[in-house]
Amino acid sequence: MKNFNYIQPKSLKEASDILKKKPHEAMLYAGGTDALGLMKQDIIKPEEVVNLKSVPGLNYISYTNGKGLRIGALTELAEIAENPVISEKYPILRHAALAVASPQLRNLGTIAGNLCQRPRCWYYREEFNCLRKGGDMCYAFDGQNKYHCVIGGGPCFIVHPSDLAVVLLALDAKLTVFGDRKTRTVQLKDFFVSPGDDYQHENNLKAGEIITEIQIPELPQDAKSAFVKFRERGVWDFAVVSVGAVIRKEGSKVISGKLAFGGVAPIPWMDESLNAKLPGVALSEEPVAQLVSEILKKAEPLSKNAYKVPLVRNLTKRLLLEL
């Protein structure tokens, strides 16, 4: 690992100014659980590491009846998993937080870091100078692509690794972003960037921009939610695929809802046309089977990952039938 200056800004403005002034040399650092791994492997070699934890006031969970939940960017995943209000009002969020990494990593990893973590593509994480690292080819396309995307790919075929992003998408979350001395609000569904538009960044943060808060609207009283993460071992493992569902139903019929998917696309995946088909669906074997056959209809699997399509459909079916 290359040595660096560890900068301890006292305000967002100070942090943002350094990042903006040195977009290539400076990097924002929260819990460091992802960033440190990349630095140890020399995949990123920042000269200035800007410690967001030295900015006060970014670690909180605050719920207002009727308005919803606000979570400070530096809130650790363990705090989210253990918060009683979250367990009661947003159990799906607790579930996703608990599904991340391991207890030790959840004590350090933050919510904003989770949303902004870099891809896990093994070529990216090893010594391959692929497109995303400024090289001129994607090694996964013709290579070992079992864990890569089945939709939305090209010219890079990563999947977005964040578990929280999947449920936050289904929960219709928004982000507050600070930069250029002001804040902006962005819908989470507009935050992530497809490789077709930019294959070197996973989101639309500009140099110097910092997420300060995640907002989740109040859920209707009768909303039901669930998250399922399919992985190959019980801890430390990223999702092979995952599904988040937030549904309102009357009797056994869906009134409205959102499904979001992880592990299938370079961005946390939500298909508006699929969600538009949810209202009216009865939550029983046949109509649900019919609905899930619409999932990833336009998938274009790579040589080794076609299994993801039936896997996602079956997991979604199980999830909906158990709601």
């Binding site: 659980t33 791994g37 410690n51 990494a101 391991s102 207890p103 990593l105």
Partner: protein
């Protein structure tokens, strides 16, 4: 060697030698070197140097100079000689290096030493009471919670964090709480028994006190 680098009454070469040797006056940094570090830091914008760090480890203050890239595990093992903390994967994926930071379990290999400043670090060396084993350590012995023993310090620290937060864990709680620690010898069943037994023993002792 430039004039500037002699500020603080110590040459840059000597200063860097001091840094290289790791332990400066074992636990305690001499004020002269601290001043030199400050002076050098001010004089050189580009040059990345070691920075002063005060750590509280097992109740004792340690004044050190570290490169910012140094992990907590490196400081514990190489600068403070606390080699009970084991480093196996050095990548946040095995748990061998688990220590407590303000009573929470973290991987010391996957956190910068500078991020532990102002917090209470507890290592396996810090949980014994004099020569007496900690009840969790005793439970690992009584219930055969180890084979080669390499993962054990990390397992014990993860168990300590779990029981501090949840003194009466269910088996499921123990499975989840210990899930961030690999045992290459696969002593898992006995590790779980050891943790449950330690919790039970602590519970019955508190009941007796009452």
């Amino acid at each position: 060697m430039s004039k500037d680098s002699k500020k603080g009454g110590i040459s840059r070469r000597k200063f860097l030698q001091g840094v290289g040797s790791g332990i400066i006056g074992s636990y305690v940094l001499t004020p002269g070197i601290a001043k030199a570090a400050e002076a050098l830091k001010k004089n050189s914008e580009k040059l990345i140097l070691s920075v002063p760090l005060t750590l509280k480890v097992n109740g004792k203050q340690a004044h050190l100079l570290v490169e910012p890239r140094t992990t907590l595990a490196e400081v514990l093992r190489e600068k403070l000689g606390l080699t009970g903390t084991k480093v196996a994967c050095n990548n946040g994926e095995c748990g061998g290096c688990t220590v407590l930071l303000d009573k929470k379990a973290v991987y010391s290999c996957h956190i910068l030493a500078l991020d532990a400043e102002g917090k209470e670090v507890t290592t396996i060396e810090g949980i014994m009471k004099g020569e007496n084993l900690h009840p969790i350590q005793q439970a690992f012995i009584d219930h055969d919670g180890l084979q080669c023993g390499f993962c054990t310090p990390g397992q014990v620290m993860a168990a300590e964090a779990l029981l501090l937060k949840n003194p009466k864990p269910t088996r499921q709680d123990v499975l989840e709480g210990m899930s961030g620690n690999v045992c290459r010898c696969a002593a898992y069943p006995n590790i779980i028994e050891s943790v449950l037994a330690a919790a039970e023993k602590a519970g019955s002792e508190t009941a007796e006190l009452k």
